[in-house]
């Protein structure tokens, strides 16, 4: 109990620091840096939502890009002004029931999360019976199907042309506000009985089932929460960028989030938050690797793709070098369960 109190105080302190930091950042930093701060917040949400599914419940899902796409399109279509819609949908007019809607940002974000969660349940219910690698492929497949469907439904999503001119509501308060809601929600969930059930499923499905945990219910629940936040984060991203198209939501995006989750530690909240920020900043900071730098007297040629090579190597090294750590951590957890 006392430990919880202390971590609550630490969380409040961190929250205060971030609020002060954001106020200062908004006053003194340029647009580019603000954009990186926004992206960090969005990736915190994404990392935590994936960690809830993959890290805490132990289901290896690779469908995040798909749920983000759903969220992004929901927000894009719902918040876009009516005239803008007419300009966007010049090949085929938009379906009538969406033509005249123009929602505020908050309801649109919630709608994005809900649509993603409902689709998460519809998709998840049949495939969550599968184990590790089959589930990974099936969810990857769903993400890919969502992308293909979005490319082809011209009158709903404007197809391959994508949506342009989505109003830029996302600012640092929105992105980090959502991030903090996610942090709070996930830690709340994990501390409670649901979280215990999730982790029991991760450790041993058969034992969890024997203890009377409803596997299906908890798996679907974890999946639905995860996709809800993925959808909201996708919505924030759409509103931050202003332009979206189906090809943004390829598996590369899921890979970035997976990188964050693995670096931060499967089943770790603080680690995920920190690694989300680090990875986002590094992605930008290492951009020079992809571009040529002109130092005046000599030009260093950048190689496109170098950045991702480095990130892939980091991921593999993390897994190979850190495997002792993984094992130890799991073992440590087992003993602590026994003591409880």
């Amino acid at each position: 109990m006392r430990k919880n109190g202390r971590s609550d105080r630490a969380a409040l302190l961190a929250l205060a620091c971030v609020v002060v930091g954001l106020i200062l950042a908004n006053r003194y930093l340029d647009d580019y840096k603000i954009r990186i701060i926004n992206l960090s917040g969005i990736y915190v949400t994404l990392g935590l939502s994936m960690n809830l599914i993959n890290g805490f419940t132990g289901m290896f899902s690779l469908g995040h890009a798909g749920f983000m796409a759903i969220g992004a399109y929901t927000v894009g279509i719902l918040t876009m002004p009516v005239q803008m819609k007419e300009m966007n949908f010049f090949l085929q007019p938009i379906v009538p029931f969406l033509a005249n809607v123009e929602w505020g940002f908050l309801p649109a974000l919630l709608a994005a999360g809900l649509v993603a969660a409902v689709l998460g349940i519809i998709i998840g219910a049949p495939v969550l019976r599968l184990t590790d690698d089959y589930l990974a492929i099936a969810t990857l497949g769903f993400a890919e199907i969502i992308r293909v469907v979005f490319t082809n439904t011209q009158s709903l999503t404007n197809g391959a042309l994508g949506l342009k001119g989505i109003p830029n509501y996302t600012n640092t308060w929105w992105s980090w506000g959502v991030a903090f809601v996610t942090i709070w929600f996930v830690s709340f969930l994990i501390r409670g009985s649901y979280g215990k059930a999730f982790m029991a499923i991760r450790e041993d499905e058969v034992a969890a089932r024997a203890m009377g945990i409803n596997l299906f219910k908890h798996k679907v629940m974890s999946f639905a929460f995860g996709s809800f936040f993925a959808g909201v984060a996708g919505g924030l991203l759409a509103s931050l960028l202003g332009t979206i198209d189906p090809n943004m939501f390829r598996i590369t995006l899921t890979f970035n989030i997976l990188l964050i989750v693995v670096l931060g530690g499967l089943g770790r909240i603080t680690g995920t938050v920190i690694s989300a920020v680090i990875v986002t900043v590094m992605m930008e900071a290492l951009r020079f690797l992809d571009e040529s730098i002109n130092l005046g007297f000599v030009e260093i040629k950048g190689v496109p793709g170098m950045r991702m090579v480095i990130f892939s190597i980091i991921l593999i090294l993390m897994v190979i070098v850190g495997r002792e750590g993984f094992l130890k951590r799991l073992k440590g957890r087992e003993t602590s369960y026994a003591e409880n």
């Binding site: 590790d132 497949g141 890919e144 199907i145 793709g305 991702m308 090579v309 990130f311 593999i316």
Partner: protein
């Protein structure tokens, strides 16, 4: 008559695409049979095979038919090396860890491809012998469309012989049946796994060369879709089962071509077809079409 010849044309196209999926699927299924690991990087190994052939033909004086032999061999060695670096250290780790490593390896190869070969598409230099159209009773077919199934069948016969008749093949079957017992019986696990990866990658590269001859556009990310679809083919047929992988490959290849041919309105959904099949199979018969008999695993 026109309809019939159209149909035959689609049929041959489907069979040749199916053969390619089958060749790549075998690599997945062999590795899965022994290590219970989805080698996510398999599709990218396939891509490397195509690029090696491309560079071999254009930048060396080696005749093209020799390149068609050397490039798969080199690709096989790369596959073997990949296992040593990315999978071997994790052999006793939880499966999720190896899976992450496999995904990392896949992205590493893709991005190395972009760095080394450039992101722009390249045109595969198809030897003229393989690239002319013959007309058979009004059906015009590219020679390569015939060659692909023939090569596939020859390789399959060779592989089946290898697995059922040789000592190494027997060791592979033993390993896939019971890993620990097999190792107690004096089977050199590391050697057998290396051979498995070598052969899987070699077959993927052969598939890749024929893919390049059939669809002559090379891109560093070209391995992803065929890789995923072939994996699905392996699952549809029953993963770990070579005959199943071949059957799955043909089902997917024919299905995809026929879908586009018979329902042109759904052309845009072509890439989703395989995934829909996968999900149906996983729900109806998770062990795949031929996966019920454990004994046939390789």
């Amino acid at each position: 008559m026109g309809n019939l010849s159209m149909f035959l044309q689609h049929l041959t196209n489907g069979i040749s695409l199916g053969s390619l999926y089958a060749l790549i699927a075998i690599g997945y299924t062999m590795v899965y049979g022994i290590l219970r690991l989805i080698n996510f990087a398999h599709g990218d190994i396939f891509m490397l095979g195509v690029y090696l052939t491309y560079f071999g033909i254009l930048y060396t004086s080696i005749p093209w038919w020799l390149v068609f032999v050397i490039a798969p061999a080199i690709t096989g060695i790369i596959g073997l090396f990949l296992e040593k670096v990315c999978y071997k250290p994790l052999r006793d780790s939880p499966r999720i860890t190896i899976l992450i490593s496999a995904i990392g390896a896949s992205f590493l190869l893709q991005n190395l491809g972009i760095v080394l070969f450039g992101g722009r598409p390249r045109a595969f230099p198809v030897p003229r012998v393989l690239n002319h159209v013959v007309k058979v009773r009004g059906v015009s077919i590219n020679v390569i469309t015939f060659i692909i199934p023939v090569v596939t069948i020859l390789l399959l016969v060779g592989l089946t012989y290898f697995i059922t008749k040789t000592k190494t093949g027997m060791a592979m079957r033993a390993l896939s049946r019971d890993y620990e017992t097999a190792s107690l019986m004096g089977i050199d696990i590391n050697k057998i796994i290396s051979i498995t990866f070598f052969m899987g990658s070699l077959l993927a590269a052969v598939g890749g060369i024929m893919w390049g001859a059939r669809y002559p556009q090379l891109m560093p990310l070209m391995g992803m879709m065929p890789g995923l679809k072939s994996f699905i083919a392996a699952v549809v047929g029953g993963i770990g089962n070579i005959a199943g992988a071949v059957a799955g490959g043909f089902i997917l290849g024919l299905g995809e071509i026929m879908l586009v041919a018979l329902l042109p309105r759904l052309t845009g959904y072509r890439d989703a077809f395989a995934f829909v099949v996968l999900i149906i199979i996983l729900l109806v018969k998770p062990s795949g079409l031929m996966g019920q008999r454990e004994t046939e695993k390789v």
